[in-house]
Amino acid sequence: MNGENEVRVLFAAVEAPPSRVDLDRAVVDGRRVVRHRRYAWTGAAAAVVAALAVAVPATLVHRPGTSPGPGNAPSSAPPRPTVCTVTRLAPPPGGGRAVADRIDPTGRYIAGARVLGDRDYFPALWTDGVPALVPVPGQSSVVFGVNAHGVLVGETQNNGTFVSAWVYRDGVPTHLTAPAGHPILEPTGVNAAGTVVGIAYTADDRAVAVRWVAGRYDRPEVLAAPKDAQAWGIDDDGTVVGQLGMSDGPYVWDPSGHGTPLARPAGYAGGSADAIRGDWIVGTASDPAGDPVPLRWNRRTGVVERLPGKGIGQSVNASGMVVVHGLEGAAALLDARGRAVTLPYPAGVAHPLPLAVADDGNVVGSTMGGAGTGSTDGGVVVRWSCG
């Protein structure tokens, strides 16, 4: 006994002055962030990245062209560290901050936005590093997916209200039609063939996973599931990943639309499958302590692996490199063996966070003050080339 109870008594007696904390404001700020949810992850101070990075070994061992998952990890030869170089990309025309967090599998196209204030987003597409605005009509639009041909999918809102979801191809936007009874759409991905997946909500917030086959954007297909479901990504082979219910766990639909749960390691609960590419799926589940942790499934071997650190698996490339979002907005790039990659930063820029990874080892990242956090940091888009 070293005074623990005394300190409890003292702390319990400390009366705080009246709080100015405003729950309604948190809801309003939070809504603003969620509206463009992907950007929320970039809001944390770069210092937090260190907190995630210390949780994983510092050695860097990506071997390009291999898929060293748990079933076939290289054993003895000292692996060559993954080395990354960084390029600061020019912002889109028109001023404001820049943010980008989607990259197509080839690494050629990067999608993001020019941001005015905290809430108005104007879609932008970088082709081979050269930015251009994407002229989608509406007050605020966000890109949620880009494929190897530069086709974009996204959503437009006016004053926080859903207006439309669209596919943008060769300068022409095409509206996605909502399934009956589910008027609010959130497209989440597009594959090389142009097939789109997303989520459709009823007015009372029930969610279904939806697929629009390429060229039939006026014919939504609700993916069968035993309860509410959400689709978060689609592979070029047509496999769709997502989640069942609010926290029933990761779910996957084969190209025919047949859905099955994805196995989690013993003791892990809840979660979602957040991205898919080739042999790999990444996602999230709660570990036995209840913390969300990143998982990676090898589709070829069927092995599921808990990646180091805490957070949410968000992006994966064909060789198994992963971007993990930490709990409070930090992010880290893991190589194919699940080890943290050291990322260089451009001079004079608050540390950008990695947000998505392409098959060629290109990684897109951004700095940006999180909407609603009061921060005015950043607004710079970078591309790392890692190999």
């Binding site: 070293n2 005074g3 623990e4 109870n5 005394e6 300190v7 409890r8 008594v9 003292l10 702390f11 319990a12 007696a13 400390v14 009366e15 705080a16 002055p17 009246p18 709080s19 100015r20 904390v21 405003d22 729950l23 404001r25 948190a26 809801v27 700020d29 939070g30 809504r31 962030v33 969620v34 949810r37 929320a40 809001g43 101070a45 210092a47 937090v48 907190a51 949780a55 009372d204 917030d205 969610a207 609010m246 926290s247 609960a269 809840g270 999230t284 589940a285 709660s286 302590a289 209840g290 913390d291 969300p292 805490k310 949410i312 709990l327 409070e328 907005g329 999180g370 609603g372 009061g374």
Partner: protein
């Protein structure tokens, strides 16, 4: 976030806002910064609500967000001036000594950040050693050593107050 989630969020936070704010006040030693830390943590929690709910041990998750926001705040240069409360003196509850509160806050303020955070998490938020370690992103051993050092220092600085507040039984414990 959909309506149903939002209702759960406001219910959850509404029930805990007072404790969260007091925890932040103990950490920051300043009412305004405590407000800022909690406000920012709530926005983060809103955005991550679905993941937070799925985390099962949601309280530990929320404490982690709070601690990270507090540490972020500490890192910012604008933790500079000591902003003591300047408004009218708050009414203290019966039998409560304002000088004692100030002494506790002052003693906490003089502790290293790690020790202060450990003490608040363990002895105000009632987190276990393991939960505190997760919230702070350090090892349980680190939490234990910071706890004992922090307790020793607090005891030294607040000796008389500790005795008075805890009563003779605690002294014998």
């Amino acid at each position: 976030m959909r309506t149903e989630d939002e209702r759960e969020f406001t219910e959850y936070v509404g029930a805990r806002l007072g404790r969260l704010h007091r925890a932040a006040y103990l950490l920051c030693g300043d009412a305004h910064r405590a407000d800022d830390v909690v406000q920012s943590a709530l926005t983060t929690l809103y955005v991550q609500w679905r993941k937070a709910r799925a985390a099962e041990h949601i309280d530990a998750y929320v404490h982690r967000i709070l601690v990270r926001r507090y540490l972020d705040e500490k890192r910012r240069a604008w933790s500079r001036v000591e902003l003591r409360a300047t408004g009218p003196e708050r009414t203290a509850p019966d039998g409560y000594d304002v000088a004692e509160r100030d002494a506790v806050l002052q003693a906490l303020r003089e502790l290293p950040v790690g020790q202060r955070t450990v003490l608040v998490l363990r002895y105000f938020c009632d987190l276990s050693v393991d939960e505190a370690a997760r919230a702070m992103g350090c090892s349980p051993g680190n939490v234990k050593s910071q706890s004992s050092r922090g307790l020793a220092t607090l005891r030294e600085r607040l000796g008389a107050t500790v005795v008075a507040a805890a009563g003779p039984e605690e002294e014998r414990a």
